[in-house]
């Protein structure tokens, strides 16, 4: 029986567990994030934040469609300035637990990414995650920054230049070659890669004929995303040698083991918090230790 390289290390951090609370999952308050840290999260990622505050989309914003979830929360956040306070309060709670804090940032332009990175840096997060899945507003088709090696690298380089902490760049699966994007962001200075963000999808209500999400399009996560995420992580791990936060569809110890076999250094968990409650990460960690008792 082969077992995965089960490490509790990420960059220079020694972690309590190899499981990471994914961005946008109850990452909206210090109390919720510390609850995650007390329940099995080796690292905690805050909700993505932008320069200005955003209310997010109207309801419905999230659905369980039977084989996974779909959400279009709409990146609601209090804006970078307010987020600094939230991150500082969170850090104060996480530090005694030995749980590093990952801030998450996004913007519609490179300049915005840079500004948010600078503001957020005041909170001294342990890592900054650069969420490049949002559309580049200066691209006429609104292609996400994660969509081409060039735009992904440009954001990476711009952010890297203005921060002192390590950065991880979060990639999207809807690209023809994620290995190429990974190589580009690594080259541009990414210390790590988070893979993957949700896959864009849609659902319709057959009685009203309407898309169910108010935003029409949403991001697919959970079970349906797992094989996509495994393949992305595998391709990235063959292409670059920096650490990977393998994320997508993990909700059991077995899923986490698969993610590590695909090449993940540590494993991100999001939707499982719905399926298994806030202690999902703790449960996954127990299952992982059970699966590989020799570790």
């Amino acid at each position: 029986m082969i077992h995965p390289k089960l490490t509790c290390e990420f960059l220079n951090f020694k972690l309590n567990t190899p499981l990471v609370l994914a961005s946008g999952i109850i990452g909206t308050s210090a109390t919720l994030m510390s609850r995650a840290a007390e329940n099995g999260a080796g690292m905690v990622t805050a909700k993505s934040c932008s320069l200005q505050s955003r209310p997010g989309h109207p309801n419905p914003v999230a659905l369980d469609w039977g084989h996974g979830l779909i959400n279009a929360i709409g990146l609601s956040n209090p804006g970078a300035a307010e987020e600094v306070n939230l991150l500082m309060a969170t850090r104060a709670k996480l530090q005694p637990l030995g749980v590093p804090l990952i801030a998450s940032i996004f913007g519609g332009t490179i300049a915005e990414f840079v500004q948010v990175a600078q503001i957020i840096s005041r909170a001294h997060p342990d890592v900054i995650e650069v969420n490049i899945s949002c559309p580049n507003v200066s691209d006429e088709f609104g292609t996400p920054f994660s969509g081409t090696p060039e735009s992904a690298a440009t954001v990476t380089q711009a952010v890297k230049q203005v921060v002192t902490c390590p950065i991880t760049v979060k990639l999207s699966p809807n690209v023809p070659s994620i290995a190429r994007i990974a190589a580009a962001v690594k080259e541009a200075g990414a210390d790590a890669i988070t893979a993957i963000n949700t896959m864009p999808g849609m659902l319709f209500d057959v009685v009203s004929g309407q898309p169910i999400l108010s935003n029409k399009v949403g991001g697919i996560s959970g079970a349906a995303l797992k094989p996509i995420a495994l393949r992305c992580v595998y391709e990235i791990s063959k292409a670059v040698s920096i650490p990977i936060i393998g994320t997508g569809g993990v909700s059991s110890g077995q899923d986490a083991a698969e993610m590590m076999m695909a090449g993940a250094t540590v494993v991100g968990v999001g939707s499982a918090v719905y399926y298994r409650g806030v202690s999902a990460l703790q449960q996954i960690w127990e299952e992982l230790k059970c699966l590989y008792p020799m570790l």
């Binding site: 308050s29 109390t31 419905p60 914003v61 999230a62 609601s76 309407q210 169910i212 999001g270």
Partner: protein, 251 residues
């Protein structure tokens, strides 16, 4: 019903000046205290407690945009429902399954009364003793009085203007009942505005009575992910609640 399920409205009952009960062509397996998200395409999606499950019924007060839009609907119109979601009231073991008969008090304020009728029916069916204390601003806003009378439970009413029942709040009725220690219940269930819930919790703690509170918060995902329904120190109303067996603001 993880996805919104279109159900036809088969009956609409007028409960009081601002409240209607919508009876739907469908049923649900759910516990009292759980909720559903109600969607109107193009308008919004909001949480509502289950007023009954067989058939699925919702008691809705017209207080704002969304609830008013629902009040526009007629028999035969569609309503979209997903759920049940959240954690409902935990019930004591039924007497016919060797549980001890429990003396329960159900405390409701405003439309918080809606889920209590469903709860009362269940408790009575399980062989427990049920007393109901409900309150509102005035007589016109009191809910389900006849329905509770029909169940045959002991019923106390409170209105803030004294137009019916006792003048004042439900907690004042509780205080006066508790002044005779022989009245002390085994379990208090409450649903209503935050202020009322906190007062009920305080009172129960002071008298060492177990209690369960159905909490309210702004719901977005309803799945325990987005964090928008947080109350107190990291409690998610949609996932950990809406029913808590403690005061989530205090823990």
């Amino acid at each position: 019903m993880s996805l919104p399920h279109a159900l036809k409205i088969t009956d609409i009952k007028i409960e009081n000046g601002i409240t209607k009960t919508f009876v739907l062509a469908g049923s649900l397996i759910a516990e009292p205290g759980q909720f559903v998200m109600v969607w109107l395409p193009g308008i919004d999606e909001r949480p509502f407690s289950l007023a009954d499950t067989q058939p699925l019924s919702l008691t809705i007060a017209a207080v704002g945009c969304f609830s008013q839009a629902i009040h526009q609907l007629k028999i035969g119109d569609w309503l979209w429902v997903r759920g049940p979601l959240g954690k409902g009231y935990r019930l004591p073991a039924p007497v016919h399954k060797n549980g001890l008969p429990q003396r329960t008090w159900l405390i409701g304020g405003g439309y918080g009364v809606a889920p209590l009728h469903f709860l009362a029916k269940q408790l009575l069916a399980d062989g427990h003793e049920v007393s109901v204390i409900i309150g509102a601003r005035d007589a016109a806003n009191l809910l389900l009085v006849e329905a509770f009378k029909n169940l045959g439970v002991s019923l106390w009413l409170a209105t803030e203007d004294g137009s019916v029942g006792q003048l004042g709040r439900v907690t004042e009725i509780m205080v006066s009942l508790l002044s005779n220690s022989a009245n002390k219940p085994d379990l208090v269930y409450a649903c209503g505005p935050t202020g009322m819930l906190v007062a009920v919790a305080d009172l129960c703690q002071a008298h060492q009575i177990l209690f369960q509170l159905s909490w309210e918060a702004r719901m977005r995902c309803g799945l325990g992910l987005c964090g928008s329904c947080e109350v107190g120190n990291g409690w998610l109303t949609c996932l950990d609640g809406p029913v808590f067996e403690f005061n989530p603001l205090a823990l």
